[in-house]
Symmetry: D2
Subunit: 382 residues, 4 copies
């Protein structure tokens, strides 16, 4: 009916929670945005063929592979989307990049700094060949946080003094909640730290435009044994909560907390930034809002900005003011940005280097926590 | 890859704001729900062929028609989705129903009681032939409001005493905002009343399970002349705001207000219900929340229920707790329910009779307002 | 220890809830403000001598009378403070004014327009002799509402379009709550209307600077029989709730609701005003806050102004920013203003004329409600 | 007029902000509560006679002294109330206790652990003679926090897992704000830490019933030079902000932050406690509210408890539900409790031992901060 836009074949590895939401983003992005490349849901990889086929039909993928190694070299795949647990990210991403495929990789980038370094190195090499890599810190694409970043970048906050960020969930509060791969160090790398802490480290660095230079941390495991699937109990080998203090490169002080035990908090990813000229606050449980304070005098007060105006980041593609967006939109924005960067031949953000930087912070947190909160500098990259 | 599910061809008339959001619902519904029929986006109708084709490509429709009369009789169309202004609803809906097509019609059902009666009559006749009709009061599908309805139906509120509902927007606050079809009586029927008031009348009747029996109303037009597209000004011939008091069939008293002049309120569709045993409050600007009060004693207080648990209506199809849904989800829920009813051979709600009932309330409001707030009974249907 | 400031003897009639809070205001006002006259708690009147004496000791009054007629003519009394139910206001106030005493009278001014007219007439005559009368609409002295009034008066809201005000309590929700004088027409005049509705009528007129010109109303009594003190039940002869629509002298439309049946709302005296340039919202349950919206663009949003800055009305006399004030402070502000007006020889506000104006609105509401919501103009005063 | 209740003469040292609010408490307590001793405002001490006399008259004190040494031995003084900066607390308190006077001492108890130990020792010796000492952590007397303590003590929260507490002000955000005694180490001991941090340490220990056993801390001074009164600038020698992580005796992890640079936060003393069975949250900027989460299922949600019911701690002495209390009430409650303990011959809380415990935590925070966040155990008392 109209001149065909150029398409790009997507190959997605993994099809659980992240696979579902990424699929929706790939299906929807060109209905609302104008990416230079229209995604085609070419192939989904999953080890169990029956389940993979069911997922492919459900989510709208044309084909399946049971071995991701086959997926990453298929001719009809131009972009590999990695939605697996962190322990497989490095291997898949590096193989895909070497095969010349653009890569979108779920967060955290990897389970260790060494893996993340290898991935960042692979991304640098690929970049020279015009192949792009992005890590999926989707919270950067919440319009309220993207707008917060713009406000900081504009200088509206002045000097940044305080950052306060928590990511609170409660799904492990009940000691009877069963064991999962997320609670094993070998598959998940860490617990709340890598799963939730990675998001707030990235968000804080993104919004402030500064980096964390050192930390003092403590972690705790409240429930050390969980019911295992096969009966009996399994040992939880990751943190249930991680707290750390930090200093930022621009002179600000900061505190962070990630937990899955904050009873009553379902997805309270919160960020507060106090500057010398203005302050802002965000809570994902009210994700369409940004709290904003500036000025002085008798009408000063925190404003509840409903970040749903067409001038706000990403929002123009959607509905009229006050018609809220949800969680999944952050992924649609993410792939829109990635496709845009690929089309423009520019580097997407957050890059694998950004993911590596987060990984170094997580690593410093773990080292500090293991050494009784000893102040630990975040390793500088090369 | 798997046994094909039965499909149903959709024909959509209109492709503006409502067309965009309905298209997304039709594209997405079977990715999250298990409707007995999988929608196929067969054909979109629009008077301007160029714009219709652009919309079809953007939204994912296979074909276009420039005359809805052709659309409603096409063999590849099993369901007609009416997304046009209210003055064309009756003609299209009746033609579609007579052609044996299921009909989803945007709200308000019509611009007059007479039209709505004809539509309801057509729907009754169609029902005998297994053809279904539903009016698109999408706010019934906000999980928080669907849950509110369940709470009332369970008896948890006891006797309903007060209903308080407003629908506040502000996009006409500025006198320089231009003239549109929504501000002309001949195209829109009424102003804030039919556009916004219809939603809160339906929501109040839906949540309480009672009907409005009489009203006392006043309306106002704050800005009587607006810039017209062609230069000069046009007369605004609809209400800018409508307020009314009401009594409900179960003995409750109620107040309603619809306006497009509540500066700072973007889409504040609010409902409060006070019962003898519990109370609830809702605001669409925080659409994932339901405020809930029950019990007594030192721990009683309004609870902010985050209506994102898998046990809440519709939510199980989506994301984990605390991962918010947005405006467009209400439409996906709507078409899921409609497809479910078609598949099950049952009558969907809200029916055209429900839409007619809302129309009778709006009619009583207009009559009361025209007669200086004289108490006006809502006409009983046959 | 210092030159004595001039004092004024206070005589207070009544010693229940209002008596307690007024006493605190008289005891405290000169500790925080600099009134030209320092109040001396001279004498308290109560019919039961034992209870009156206990109250006098508790509240700090020097003497008691069992007949208010004696109190109003005492030489050591310069100001009479009327804290009795509404049916005795007229008689006491007129006698006190005629005796040359300044009068502070609790709201509503009276139980009928006729009584209120007589009181206003007495106040006018007294004024000529330099004797002052004020009605105790204490909510005018909430700093947030006083600030709201200043904002409207400054023109910051532009043209006032909407007023939305409710006063919600729930202490009668339980049908077993016992009969009181507040539920008998002969003692209370009306129910929620006079008790709560009077406050929001005054507040709306005060903040907007406009008057209500006409109303359409309905009232309801949900629980018609209540347990009486002596066993058995008594008939409730007042409204449990009153709702009304109104037009204001400046062209705004308005809605009001007063109820004692809004389960979960303890003292939700709320006011919203939408203007052409700004909007404000207030809820007494968060009485130190004013919600304020002005401007446009990407940082516009309702601001939560914490009305605790030294520049805010009354606040400079108290604590640093963020150190909240409570309910009783409104009375301290009230008597500070009254003493200030007496000292300055100016007329205090709200005057008995203001109280009469509120009474006329309540009267129109009752007449409209009795006539099935018929539009009823508020009687113009002389 | 009635049998005289026994009185107790109060001698207050200092008459600035704390002096004003303490005076109000002493004047008001017996008007609302039934303390076994009625306070008599006997004498106020201040170095400058003119200013002391003005304060005495303003606040209602019968006499003045210019030397606190004379005040603490006066026969008409039974209780000494210390409202001076921290550097004089030890000397005054010990002298007063040795003179056999009950002592109420503002927080922090002292500027050093050594001083606090001497004071606690003096309090122990005094106790044997029936002389009582209390430290004025007034936030324990916020009804919402007192209720929170009761909820924890009842076991309603189960095992305490997380404590999150901040005390945010912004009055130093502006670098032009002038030098004060609060910014000099020699007078104030520390900055935000002792002023604000002391409150949240006490509140966290009070509400949880646990003690802080170790900390990792960092402090920062954002503005190192301030305009001095006499022209030129002075060096700020205290912290502008202090952040620390902690472990509690019962196994919980905790984070704390005190700052005077959180632009837009006026008095945001916040506390969140997550337990295994329930969670609570408090913010002094909404001091009449307690957020409370318990239970599970589709109606679970954080409740906004309006802590204004007669059954809530202290509230029965005041107004009906929903009629808010303010900052100063916490002091009235404080002196009511202290007089009650004196009358009953029991030990008041928080005792000087409690104050010492807070001091040891502050000391550990300072040591940790000076040693780059090294984990520092809180010294055990004898």
């Amino acid at each position: 009916m109209s001149p065909a836009r150029e398409t790009i074949g997507i190959g997605m590895v993994g099809h659980a929670f992240m696979g579902a939401v990424h699929s929706h983003a790939w299906r929807s992005v060109h209905r609302f945005f104008d990416p230079p490349l229209v995604p085609r849901l070419a192939v989904l990889a999953g080890r169990d063929e029956t389940r993979a086929k069911a997922a492919a039909q459900r989510f709208g993928w044309a084909d399946v592979e049971t071995d991701w190694r086959k997926l990453v070299v298929r001719d009809d795949v131009g972009l590999v989307d990695i939605c697996t647990p962190g322990d497989s990210h490095a291997e898949i991403a590096i193989a895909a990049l070497e095969a010349g495929k653009h890569v979108l990789c779920e967060k955290p980038l990897a389970n260790s700094v060494a893996e993340a370094e290898a991935m960042a190195e692979a991304a640098r090499r690929a970049r020279e060949r015009g192949v792009r890599a992005m890590v999926a810190f989707n919270y950067r694409r919440v319009p309220a946080l993207a707008h917060a970043r713009n406000l900081v970048a504009s200088g509206a906050l002045g000097e940044i003094r305080h950052v306060r960020s928590v990511y609170l969930q409660d799904w492990l509060s009940d000691p009877r909640a069963p064991m999962t791969w997320r609670l094993r160090k070998e598959s998940a790398g860490s617990g709340a730290l890598g799963d939730l802490g990675a998001h707030i480290v990235d968000a804080a660095q993104f919004v402030t435009g500064e980096v964390i230079t050192g930390v003092s941390a403590l972690t705790n495991t409240f429930v050390k044994q969980r019911p295992s699937e096969g009966g009996g109990t399994d040992e939880v080998t990751v943190d249930d909560t991680a707290l750390f203090l930090a200093r930022l490169s621009g002179g600000a002080v900061a505190s962070f907390e990630a937990t899955r035990f904050a009873l009553g908090r379902k997805n309270a990813m919160r960020l507060e930034v106090n500057g010398s000229k203005a302050s802002l606050a965000f809570d994902f449980e009210s994700m369409n809002e940004l709290q904003w304070y500036e000025g002085s005098g008798t009408e000063a007060g925190f404003r509840r900005i409903l970040v749903t105006e067409p001038q706000h980041p990403y929002v123009g593609a959607w509905w009229p003011p006050g018609h809220l967006l949800g969680y999944e939109h952050t992924f649609t924005h993410e792939v829109a940005d990635f496709l845009g960067a690929i089309g423009a031949g520019t580097d997407p953000a957050p890059s694998f280097d950004d993911g590596l930087r987060v990984q170094r912070v997580l690593d410093a947190v773990e080292k500090s926590a293991a050494a009784q909160a000893t102040w630990t500098a975040v390793e500088e990259g090369k």
